[in-house]
Amino acid sequence: MIFPSITFLALFFPMILLIFYAFSFTKTIQKIWIVFVSCVFYTWGQPDDALIFFGILIINIFLGERITASINTNHKLKARGYFIISIILNVGALVFMRYISFIQENLNMIIQNQAIDIGEQTLPVGMLFFSLRAISFCADCYTKKVGKRSLIDSFFYLSFFPFLLAGPLISYQDLNGSKSELYFDGRRFSVGMCRFTVGLSKKVLIADNLAIVSNRIFDLSMIGDISYEIPVLLAWLGLIAFAMQIYFDLSAYSDMAIGIALCLGYKCPENVDYPYLAKSVTEFWNRFHISLMKWFDQYFLRPLDRNNGTNKDRMVLNIFIMWCVIGLWHGPNWTFVFWGIWNSVFILLEKLKMIHWDKDRSIFKSIYVCAVILVGWVLFRTTDLYQAGEYFKNLLGLNHNAIYNDLVTVFLKEFGLVLVIGLIFLFPIARVFNNWQINHPESLIVKMNTIVYPIVLIGLFLVCTIYLFFTNAQPFIYLIL
């Protein structure tokens, strides 16, 4: 099930909240209820995946328990053994279910025949994020960051439904430590409701409309094995639409997940922070998928880099490897590997201060970041390197393609308003306005906003509901990677 669906909005969400707060006198029953709801949330619509998913979940909880027990009884070697098993299990499951076809395809290409045929496997929905969360859980048990806990606590953390399918990746201690002490934290509940509605609107009204533009244009440039030239302006429109779509998609999911968590009394860290305002590629990735980058930094880069960055050769290699892995994590395709390499090159150049800008040249910095990121998105969005090459040619007019055709007008006419709204909300207008309101509490605008704000949000919620009645929401990009 996904958040932007009528079933979730009209059945699950209110029911979850009602029963959760009906048991506000006991946190244990509340947690059991959330575990139960998470199981139903996952199973709903994809019951076939549930068995594998819950199997891996239970094994991870068992391993986490064993690691903690071994650490507590000073059996460090045993604990390390369990930890290694947990990594092998999670990475192995991921490799087997997600990358086996990719490995098979490439091996067959190298040995020039079809000798290897292991068959195709499908990855259960949400496994991509779950694997990372499970590894960090076991790692935190091993490093004693996760201390004594009940089985319910472990189940609750690993299956917490708002973050179950596509993050944000939050640590056990961050989640458990963020629970409000109040039975019912009205302020968190209110902020959560608003946050959820904003996320829903971003998804249904902006990201899904942009998805139509980018999907259609990228698909036009490649149908089956045949590449089609598309006009330069259309290619740019498709790329810009995708760049905005992926941001709004991720931002919307994070807003909804964080909003639901807030409604349940849990305050979680931000996952997106206006990345297109970044002045360097490194900053962009620190603002784009914050929890994912933090995870790779904490659980991948740091264990690799034992010299704390003092050995520059080692640092370069580590960052390069990390970005290749991040690329592969996004999908079993060479385009993602090259996307990772592309980003790593600029991050390394910035780290080694080989790309340096004067302070007053912020416009050039923005152009540089946008150019690097947009080139990266072409690699990210295209289905193979050939299509990526053709798309680059289309962008630059090197395919003997036209500058413009009627489709550009069609898309601008049909989606122009959404594109403009999207562009506006790439900037932190809401944040600036909120800060201004806090600093000017007596202003007339603030007083008027007390009435206008709820009306606008109710309007947005109803419009989203209407759209969901009429059309199904497009799947989240990070759910279908």
Binding site: M193, I212, D406, V410, G416, P441, V446, T450, L457, F469
Partner: protein, 407 residues
């Protein structure tokens, strides 16, 4: 700070009320499906049914009681956003309210030359005594000034029609291009097509019937009584706002205004026998005057939510096989028409000139058309397809790849 959070508190209270109301309403509407999912989860080992029902529950909202209210609201928002595409270009709504199927990508080209060769061989099979005519009605969007006119999103029906008619000429098959009839017609586009359906109106069918009869007289020397061509010899009854076509129904009946439906019935006496085989194999017959034998008047009272339309009044829109006998004119023409749904009203109007009219829809039947023609001695064989139906399914005969002239 309190002022800052007051607005959020107000919103949270209102949204909570909305969510709880939605939950009560949803459980009330969908309780059966929810129980089915839970039952399936508990009893079925493979949970296939649960998956299926929950997916349907997610996707299928048409049965929700106040669905039409949402349609109105959706329409308003679409207008506000100045949008014409609906559901990722699946449908397009013109400013005038006309609905079209959208097709963003061009579909793979059909082998039109092959189809034309098959038609030629069918003509040869029919023999020299049987006249063979391909009737080509225009598709709804071919003459419409659709918003996406010059973009690829518009269907390519005109191009298919032009190309196929060119092949007809090449194969020496006589053809009637009804686009010309419509161009010269006194009727407006809005009178020739429904807003909510892809079919033409009864008026358009009547105009086409006149064009066919005219062709038979001019090109084939038939002396057919012109009184049946005069609309004054017919009752023309308009039923306001009863027609909700298939596109309208798919999107939501209230998304666009309902169409008016015009029923044309003769003032003169008639006595027909209509025998038919439905698409599901059911056989049946009706007989008597025009209204009793060729019409299904109960289709004028179809309620919203059904995929049936009043277009089915004439000969049930489409059957696998039909045979209509004119008991008042045993010496009339004996005609076979291999056809799609566009031909049904024409067939009804053609009957005064016919002794027998046979109709076969290759899309809905597996009748051996080659044998059927061989076993019957027809004066005319018509093949009538609108461009969207010029596909391999419409040409199940002489599908062996042999060249023309082998019959």
């Amino acid at each position: 700070m309190n002022q800052f959070f007051l607005k959020k508190n107000i919103y949270a209270v209102v949204l909570s009320i909305i969510l709880i109301s939605m939950m009560i309403f949803y459980i009330d509407e969908k309780s059966d499906e929810i129980v089915a999912i839970l039952n399936s989860c508990l009893t079925d080992s493979d949970h296939q049914e649960a998956g299926m029902v929950s997916k349907t529950l997610e996707q299928e909202m048409l049965s929700i009681e106040y669905y039409d209210c949402f349609i109105y609201a959706y329409d308003w928002i679409q207008n506000f956003l100045n949008k014409s595409e609906i559901r990722d270009f699946s449908y397009i709504k013109e400013k005038s309210g006309f609905l079209y199927y959208g097709s963003f990508y061009e579909k793979e080209d059909e082998d039109l030359l092959k189809f034309s060769k098959q038609l030629r061989r069918l003509k040869e099979k029919a023999g020299g005594d049987t006249s063979f005519i391909f009737i080509s009605p225009p598709e709804k969007d071919s003459s419409a000034l659709v918003l996406l006119e010059n973009a690829k999103i518009i269907s390519k029906s005109d191009r298919i029609q032009d190309e196929f008619l060119l092949y007809m000429q090449y194969m020496q098959i006589d053809a009637l291009d009804l686009r010309e009839t419509f161009k010269n017609s006194e009727y407006l586009y809005e009178e020739l097509y429904y807003k909510t359906d892809r079919h033409w109106t009864t008026i358009a069918a009547f105009e086409s019937f006149k064009a066919i009869v005219d062709k038979l007289c001019v090109d084939y020397g038939e002396s057919l009584d012109s009184k049946y061509l005069d609309i004054n010899n017919y009752h023309v009854n308009q039923y306001d706002n009863i027609m909700k076509g298939t596109i309208g129904e798919e999107i939501g009946a209230k998304y666009t205004d309902l169409d008016n439906f015009i029923l044309i019935t003769p003032k003169f006496d008639s006595d027909y026998l209509w025998e038919y085989t439905r698409n599901n194999g059911t056989k049946g017959s009706q007989q008597g005057p025009f209204e009793d034998s060729l019409l299904m008047l109960d289709k004028l009272n179809i309620k919203t939510g059904s995929m049936e339309t009043p277009y089915e009044v004439y000969l049930n829109r489409i059957n696998a096989w039909d045979k209509i006998t004119n008991r008042q004119n045993p010496d009339g023409l004996k005609i076979l028409c291999i056809r799609d749904a566009y031909f049904s009203p024409i067939a009804a109007f053609m009957m005064p000139y016919c002794s027998e009219l046979h109709l076969i829809s290759p899309f809905d039947s597996e009748i051996d058309i080659e044998r059927y023609i061989e076993e019957n001695d027809f004066d005319y064989v018509f093949v009538e397809y609108y461009p969207g139906k010029i596909t391999s399914k419409g040409f199940p005969f002489f599908n062996d790849g042999k060249e023309v002239g082998t019959e």
